[in-house]
Amino acid sequence: MLAMYREVIRIRFLMMLAYRVNYYSGIIIYSINIGAYVFLWQAVYSGKPSLEGFSVIQMSTYIAISWMARAFYYNNLDREIAEEIRDGSVAIQIIRPYNYLMVKVFQGFGEGLFRLLLFSIPGMVIVSFIYPIQLTTDPSVWIQFFISLLFGFIVNVEVNLIVGLFAFFLLNNQGILWAKRFLVDLLSGLIIPISFFPEVFQKIFAFLPFQAISYIPSVTLVKGLDISKWLPAMGIQFAWSIILALLCWGIWVKARKTLIVQGG
């Protein structure tokens, strides 16, 4: 079982390597994004030492970290699933003795791991030379961050699976995929930290799973949450991973029953 998932991850590595151009262009796009947001926020601060509890340095660090974290948790599983359902190749997946969703999760994990090791970490070193950011040297904060990041990945993958599986019922869910991508970037705190939103929105967001994807891990690293604050944050992430996992499972079971294999 484990050997199989390890192999799935390995194959994903190979596939990522097969498309080198994507890899290189990814580095450039991410650096540009980080740069753009860092300068934008510097303009917003315009000399003020801090806003909503973020100093300028913390803000730059937050941006760099959340984009690098995004490289890890981001994947196109939703699009892949929708595509496989649309062209009918999901049939091939169903005649294999494995759990389709689990394999997808590990494919996403392989992709994330690849980007974390070959993209985020080297990228972070480069970015730290160019932009004014400050990373903690406290190993316990880093451990907290990586645990939180892993949960962020799980929640995001589950959101992707659910959105992808909608294709079983809609057969074409391109619009939903686009809307989802934008929503996740906005509501997860990637573009604007959650604490910058008006009070009302913050209260609403507290009931949504998105901040568990990016905001919680990034804040964990930037602000170095102490255990009494960190554990409840973990609790939120953990709760969402369970709730969404159950939801995924339910949709999958239902989807298998209504499956129509399109074409051929």
Binding site: G88, S89, P97, L259, V261
Partner: protein
């Protein structure tokens, strides 16, 4: 225990019909018309282990739907189904370990990576490590040189041979082939057929073959199941099929000199034979033998003894293709 045992297997689909024109499209937004279609209608199939069976029918007859139910992809609407002793849809994960599937129009190899990586992953997926069998399949199908190439660079024939290996990597006792030779050249076809025969003889692999290429069926299968509009219209041996539906043989003659049709008709009036004359060449005639009661030699001996000057002759058997065309047309 039979490899496949299906009783009153039925699949119904809900299809929505779009209304005509722009106003129709707007109405479709709020209220859709559904219509239910029976793709497979109370079909009974029973296939013993080790048999090679051809499954044929026109496009849209319900072949693929049946295969998808038999492989556990689709859930039957009603009916009993046991394949290899499992309920394919509800016991999916265990069941699929015992079958292999090749979809001619769909690849099960990973498109962007080398063929052998796909094989390694499949070995892990099925938890097998049978290097000997794999090497042999690679050898017989002659794909050793393709192993380190990405699948997207393979030609159709090369890919299909790799697909076959992939589907048999776990040595399944039952193999489904959905148009495996579509678009392949003669040599590759022959290679694949030879390989399938070997697998069948050596491991007793049961094979259910869907195809439009009837030469595949003639080369491999002793039994044919024919489907039309969701119903089985024939299930039995290939030879019986020919006897039941075969129009009888044809004899093409080239004579040394022109003879009238009436004369030939008179000579063979004791036999159920009808003559036609070639429009372009007055020396060419065709005798259509009705049924299977008479032989070509009876006709020929009558012709020879009554002095018809035969220059050249050719006896034409009815091809399966012709029989099937006839069945399709007559429904």
């Amino acid at each position: 225990m039979n490899a496949i045992e299906a009783e009153k297997l039925t699949k119904e689909f809900q299809i929505y019909q779009s209304r005509k024109g722009l106003t129709g499209a707007f109405r479709d937004l709020f209220n859709r018309n559904y219509r239910s279609i029976r793709a497979v209608n109370e079909v009974n199939i029973s296939i013993p282990k080790g048999e090679m069976v051809g499954y044929i029918g026109e496009n849209g007859a319900g072949k693929s739907t049946t295969i998808k139910m038999l492989t556990g992809i689709l859930q039957p609407s009603s009916g009993e189904l046991k394949v290899n002793g499992f309920d394919p849809h509800n016991q999916r994960e265990e069941f699929v370990k015992t079958i292999g599937v090749v979809f001619g129009q769909r690849s099960q190899l990973w498109w962007d990576i080398a063929v052998q990586e796909s094989f390694t992953l499949l070995q892990k997926v099925y938890r097998v490590d049978n290097k000997k069998l794999l090497d042999r399949m690679i050898d017989v199908l002659n794909i050793g040189e393709l192993l380190d190439q990405p699948v997207r660079k393979l030609s159709l024939g090369q890919r299909m041979r790799c697909e076959l290996v992939a589907s048999l990597i776990h040595q399944p006792s039952l193999l489904f082939l959905d148009e495996p030779t579509i678009g392949l050249d003669v040599l590759v076809k022959e290679n694949i057929r030879q390989f399938l025969r070997e697998m069948n003889q050596e491991f007793g692999t049961t094979i259910l073959l869907t195809t439009h290429d009837l030469t595949d069926i003639e080369a491999l299968c002793s039994r044919v199941i024919m489907l039309d509009k969701g119903n089985i219209i024939y299930d039995g041996g290939l030879t019986q099929l020919k006897q039941e539906w075969g129009e009888g043989k044809k004899i093409h003659l080239e004579l040394d000199q022109e003879v009238s049709l009436e004369h030939l008709g008179k000579v063979t009036e004791t036999l159920p034979v009808s003559w036609t004359k070639n429009e372009a060449n007055a020396k060419l005639f065709t005798a259509q033998l009705q049924g299977n009661s008479i032989t070509a030699s009876e006709v020929l001996s009558l012709l020879v003894t009554s002095g018809v000057p035969i220059h050249e002759m050719q006896i034409q058997e009815v091809s399966t293709e012709e029989i099937v065309r006839k069945i399709y047309q007559e429904g």
